[in-house]
């Protein structure tokens, strides 16, 4: 029979031990905040966002002194997208790019102004690296300005225009997508790593055997650990959202639908950690198996980048990872406001948690035969 007093007694001893261990506290609370700060800083600007590009203007200009090539480069530079660095027309441009470790470059040909005014076809050469995302932006921008200059030449205006928008009703920043992912990340790592470690260590140094000599049952022991990680997760959640909102001006929806994720999530991974620790022979093997289970989830369950950015077979794989339903659910609640989607995620997580809890308790041995 499960006894609340014993669960509370065990909770008290465990949480006190945890809080006295600075290392555990760091990984439980400080590390997720550091993650938010690092990823927030990387993706939420701070830099000008302009791409530096070298340009060589070989344009000889017009007899009246006008130089269309020069105007073109000035326009590019004022676009806010590119930062044009002009290079002496006499130097070997490809060698210059290589010497400056750059793959992006623009050459305006010698007859540029003359061809422009006489309406003869002329090409701007754009150097780029197909694997680099900045090269695509450079060629796109140059192409855009070439069109603009073409239209200008004939005094024409665009017919088709474009406005930017995101799926949310409000303007959504990357940090808004990042926060649910990183919360999912901490829901996974803290209870999982801890319970793998604790359960295998307790088994090794026979602490379980000792506890089996008291009226504490293994269900009570595991329940108290789950409770502890629910509390830790909620504390971590508040810290992470706080830092996201105050440091990066994140806009996330906070409502009652988050609670099932913050409660079931740590329960699921505490039980899974216990299961790994209990079926493995020693702490070393437990650590390895724990990593094998944890690492794919860390990166492939929509924590740092959305799974839609991954190839199809990896997306299918993501759907078997329990963490996927947590990050998807958190995104549904916090970003998209899609509550019916979140309810499906909650149902899936509840079923997985129940199965893993039962398995962990069944396979977990206090005593030896």
């Amino acid at each position: 029979m499960v006894n609340a007093k014993r669960i509370f007694a065990d909770f008290k001893v465990f949480s006190r031990g945890y809080l006295r261990n600075k290392f555990g506290l760091f990984f439980g609370l400080i590390f997720p905040v550091i993650l938010i700060l690092i990823f927030g800083a990387i993706f939420s600007g701070g830099s000008s966002g302009e791409i530096s590009v070298y340009a060589q203007n070989q344009d000889a200009g017009l007899p009246d002194g006008r130089n269309i090539g020069s105007s073109f480069l000035t326009a590019l530079n004022e676009s806010g997208t590119l930062k044009v660095i002009t290079v002496d027309p006499m130097v070997n441009f490809t060698k210059y790019l290589a010497d400056h470790s750059s793959s992006d470059g623009i050459i305006i040909p010698q007859n540029f102004s003359a061809s422009y005014v006489t309406e003869q076809s002329v090409n701007i050469t754009v150097y780029g690296n197909p694997t680099s995302s900045s090269s695509g932006i450079v060629s796109g921008t140059v192409g855009g300005f070439a069109n603009y200059f073409n239209l200008q030449r004939f005094n024409a205006t665009s017919v088709i225009g474009m406005t930017s928008a995101t799926v949310n009703t409000q303007q959504t920043k990357y940090i808004d997508f990042l926060i649910p992912g990183l919360i999912g990340f901490s829901i996974l790592t803290s209870p999982m790593f801890s319970l793998v470690n604790i359960s295998s260590e307790y088994k090794k140094n026979k602490l379980f055997k000792q506890l089996s000599l008291t009226p504490l049952t293994k269900i009570e022991w595991l329940t108290s650990k789950m409770l502890f990680y629910v509390v830790l997760t909620i504390a971590g959640f508040l810290l992470m959202v706080g830092v996201g909102v105050f440091a990066f001006d994140a806009t996330v929806a906070l409502n009652i639908w988050l609670i099932p994720f913050l409660v079931l999530g740590p329960m699921l991974f505490a039980a899974l950690g216990m299961l790994v620790g209990t079926v493995t022979k020693n702490p070393e093997t437990a650590g390895v198996i724990g990593n094998i289970v944890t690492f794919p989830m860390m990166f492939l369950a929509g924590t740092f980048f959305p799974i839609s950015a991954m190839p199809e077979y990896l997306q299918s794989f993501a759907h078997v990872l329990p963490l996927f339903y947590i990050t998807e659910g958190l995104n549904n609640v916090m970003v998209y406001g899609n509550i019916s989607g979140a309810i499906v995620d909650i149902a899936v997580i509840a079923v997985i948690t129940a199965i893993i809890f039962v398995l962990a308790v069944k396979l977990f041995k206090w005593r030896e035969d």
């Binding site: 006190r16 000599l213 008291t214």
Partner: protein, 319 residues
């Protein structure tokens, strides 16, 4: 009903017969020692009695209960310190006692228990910072929380320094004085002699001797013998020139002569003097528990240097 009744107990690990059909009883208020070298089956036996391990065959009743089937019920009535007791690192002995009291749902005065196990001074030190002896005392303190009448102590002093061992002995004597029944395992002979009313010497899963230490010495030990410090040649000389049985202990450089009559000593010494060889210190002595133990147990235990004597004349007991 006796607190402990064990009959034809068997436990195998694969093909190894760890415990091979042993039987014994323990009376109320008695301190009973299971003595033997490492691997003799002591811990397996005690863990079966504690309900931590299943048995393969035989009957075990502890306080009238089957310890494996009724383990949960039994554990509320007994106190146990497992071998190499450990606890949650960042917890103090005082907190540990309160934790156990909550688990057992009993009211205790933690300071009183700490005093009983001589641990008041370290009441607020984290478990990880305690010395080996203090850790063991914490284990003793926890085993007392549910005020059990029956205590199991599995190697309570192994690995401790002499002072810490004596402090633990004092605690155990105090518990005995309170009338508690105590089962302890040890491979220290002096510990068994100091603390136990009766001991069972175990070897390779069997009990090879049982009783008070005096009874065991009387039954299995030899009578008085003369020991002469000297070399092997001296032993050969005495053997050749007297009617006496002469053994030689190489490790200690001692000639050993069992004395059937006191006068035999005179003959031996006369022969030694006659030999013209150097001979030193002489003494007569009787087998101690150490000597009996070495005789009975197939492998002398040398882990802490307790026993590592080799007798040239005596063959190790084979199995």
């Amino acid at each position: 009903m006796l607190p402990i009744e064990v009959s034809k107990l068997q436990k195998n690990y694969g093909t190894l017969k760890a415990v091979d059909g042993i039987s014994f009883n323990v009376k109320g208020g008695e301190v009973f020692g299971l003595l033997g070298p490492n691997g003799a089956g002591k811990t397996t036996t005690i863990e079966i009695m504690e309900g931590l391990r299943a048995r393969d065959d035989g009957d075990v009743k502890v306080l009238g209960l089957d310890p494996w089937k009724k383990g949960y019920e039994l554990h509320k009535k007994i106190g146990v310190i497992p071998q190499e007791f450990t606890f949650i690192e960042k917890t103090t002995p005082r907190e540990a006692i309160i934790y156990y009291a909550d688990l057992f749902n009993v009211k205790v005065n933690p300071d009183e228990i700490l005093k009983e196990v001589l641990l008041e001074e370290s009441a607020k030190t984290y478990f990880e910072d305690l010395s080996g002896g203090q850790k063991r005392k914490t284990g003793l303190a926890l085993s007392l929380v549910n005020t059990p009448e029956l205590l199991f102590l599995d190697e309570p002093t192994t690995g401790l320094d002499p002072n810490a061992r004596r402090a633990i002995w004092d605690v155990i004597r105090g518990l005995k004085a309170k009338g508690k029944t105590i089962i302890l395992t040890t491979h220290y002979l002096d510990e068994a002699q100091q603390l136990c009313d009766r001991v069972a010497i175990m070897d390779h899963g069997h009990i090879v001797a049982m009783g008070t230490t005096e009874e065991i010495i009387q039954e299995h030990g030899s009578g008085e013998r003369l020991e002469i410090h000297g070399n092997e040649k001296l032993a050969e000389y005495i053997r050749a020139n007297t009617e006496l049985q002469v053994d030689y202990n190489k490790a200690r450089g001692e000639v050993l002569i069992p004395l059937k009559k006191k006068i035999d000593a005179l003959a031996a010494l006369a022969a030694a003097e006659q030999s013209g060889m150097d001979w030193g210190q002489i003494q007569t002595r009787q087998d101690s528990l150490d000597d009996v133990f070495v005789k009975l147990v197939s492998e002398p235990i040398g882990e802490q240097g307790e026993i590592a004597i080799e007798y040239s004349g005596k063959k190790k007991r084979g199995r």
